[in-house]
Amino acid sequence: MSRKLNSPIQRYQSEIVIDHIASQYVLGQLSELCRRRVRSLMRSGDYPQLSKAIKNWEVKLSPLNEKIPELAPLPETWTNIQSRLSMIDDVTDESKDSVIGRWLSIAKDNWFGAVSFASCMVLIAFLLQSPTQNDPLSYVAVLQDEQNSPKLVAATYGDSRRLVLDIIDLPEIDQEESFELWVASKTDNQLRSLGEIPINTSAFERQLSDAEWRLIVDSSYLIVSVEEAGGSAIGEPSDEILSRGLCVRLSAWEESS
C-alpha cells in the first residue's frame, strides 16, 4: 500500500538516523539533492526532531566559527544588497498618449505573435495604467504560464534604470519559499537572478544596479521560479518555473537614447 500523503516517514523518526543526517548536513556531507530533501522535511513541520538535531549540531560546532579569520567584503557587495532590497518609490503620472505611442512601437517588432491575446490585453492595460516617470519605458516583458495565461508584467525605465513589476496572478506559496525573477542572456543564454519578488504585493519597483542593467540590455527573456526563502542558493533557478516571457526593447526609448 502506498504511503498516505502527509504522514511522517518512519525512517525519519529514528533518533540514530536523525542524528546521522543532522551531523552530516551541518558538516556539508550530504548531496545537493539530500540537502534539498532535508530542508523540505524541516519546512513541512512534520519532523521537529530533525530540525532540533540540526540546530543542536550547529550550536555544538559553533565555537569553531570563532577561529575563522575575517575577510573584508568587496565594496559592491553592500551596494548590491541595498539595490536588491530597495523599497518601492512613488512614481508620477505621465501622458497616456506617449505610452500608447510606445505600445504601438512594439508592434513594429512583430512581437504580437509571441504572446497570447490575453497577454496583449494585459500589456495594453499595463501601459495605459502604469504610473510612469519622466524617463521613457525601455524594456517590457509579459510573463505567461504554460497555458499562456499572463502572470506578471516586467518593465524597465531607460534613464532611471528602474525595474517595475506588475504582478497579475502568482500562486500562493509556503512561508519558507519565495518567487525569484531571472533574466536569460542573449549572448551566452545563461540565466542570472534579478532578485526575489515580494510576496503579497501587486506592484513592486526598485533600482537596478549597473550590472543588473547590463543584464536587461542583453536580455532575451525573463522567467519566474519558486525558490527557498532568500532566493536560490546555487545561482540557478529551481525546476519549478511559473512563467516566462520575451523581453522586448521599446523603439520609443531606443530613439530617445
Binding site: G28, R35, L61, S62, P63, K67
Partner: protein, 185 residues
C-alpha cells in the same frame, strides 16, 4: 564574541525583523567580515564568497523575524545561513586547495584562543569542544575540521587522505557519534 556583543546583535536582528534598514546596515558592518571569512574558507574564491555573503544577507533580512534568540546565538544563526549557501555553491567552483595550504590553514584555525574575561562562557564551550575533538582519532578529527571549515566532500577527503571514500564516511560518522557522546545533549 562576548555577551554584550551578542545582545547587541540580537537587538539589531529584532529591528531587522521590523524592517529597520539602519539596523540592517549596522548588522552588516558588524558581521559581514566574519561571514565573508566563513564563505571564503569554503569557496576559496573572493567573488564567489561575496556573492554568497550577498545572498546570505538578503536571507537574513527576509528571515530576521524567524530568528529565535532562545535557540541560537545570533552569530550561530547567521553563520549557518551563509555556511549552507556556501556548501550549495561548492559544486560550481573549481577549487584547487593544495595539501600544504590545507595544513597551514588547519594549523591557523586549530589554535586555541586565549580566554578573555568578557568571554569566559564562550571559552568554556570552546575548551569543551576542543577537548572532545582531541579525544577523536587523528583522522576523524582532521576529517571533521576539513569538512566543516572548508566544505570538503567525502570524495575530496578521500583524495586528501588517500583512503577509500567508505573509510572517510566511517571516520565522519564515528567521529560525529563520539563528539556527540562527549559533548552530551
Amino acid at each position: 564574541m562576548n555577551a554584550d556583543e551578542s545582545q547587541y546583535l540580537r537587538q539589531l536582528l529584532s529591528r531587522c525583523a521590523l524592517k529597520d534598514q539602519q539596523a540592517f546596515a549596522e548588522l552588516y558592518q558588524k558581521v559581514a567580515g566574519k561571514l565573508n571569512g566563513v564563505a571564503y574558507l569554503i569557496l576559496h574564491n573572493v567573488e564567489s564568497a561575496n556573492e554568497v555573503l550577498q545572498e546570505g544577507f538578503i536571507q537574513i533580512w527576509n528571515n530576521a523575524g524567524e530568528y529565535r534568540s532562545d535557540a541560537y546565538e545570533p552569530m550561530t544563526w547567521m553563520t549557518a545561513i551563509v555556511r549552507y549557501r556556501a556548501y550549495d555553491r561548492i559544486k560550481y567552483e573549481k577549487r584547487r586547495i593544495e595539501g600544504a595550504a590545507i595544513k597551514s590553514m588547519l594549523q591557523d584555525v586549530d589554535q586555541i584562543e586565549n580566554c578573555r574575561p568578557s568571554a569566559i562562557q564562550m571559552c568554556e564551550i570552546n575548551q569543551e569542544l576542543n577537548h572532545c575533538l582531541s579525544i577523536l582519532d587523528e583522522y576523524q578529527h582532521e576529517a571533521i575540521l576539513l569538512a566543516y571549515y572548508f566544505g570538503f566532500s567525502r570524495e575530496e577527503l578521500s583524495g586528501h587522505f588517500e583512503r577509500p571514500v567508505n573509510t572517510v564516511k566511517s571516520w565522519l560518522r564515528r567521529g560525529a557519534e563520539r563528539l556527540k557522546a562527549c559533548l552530551g545533549n
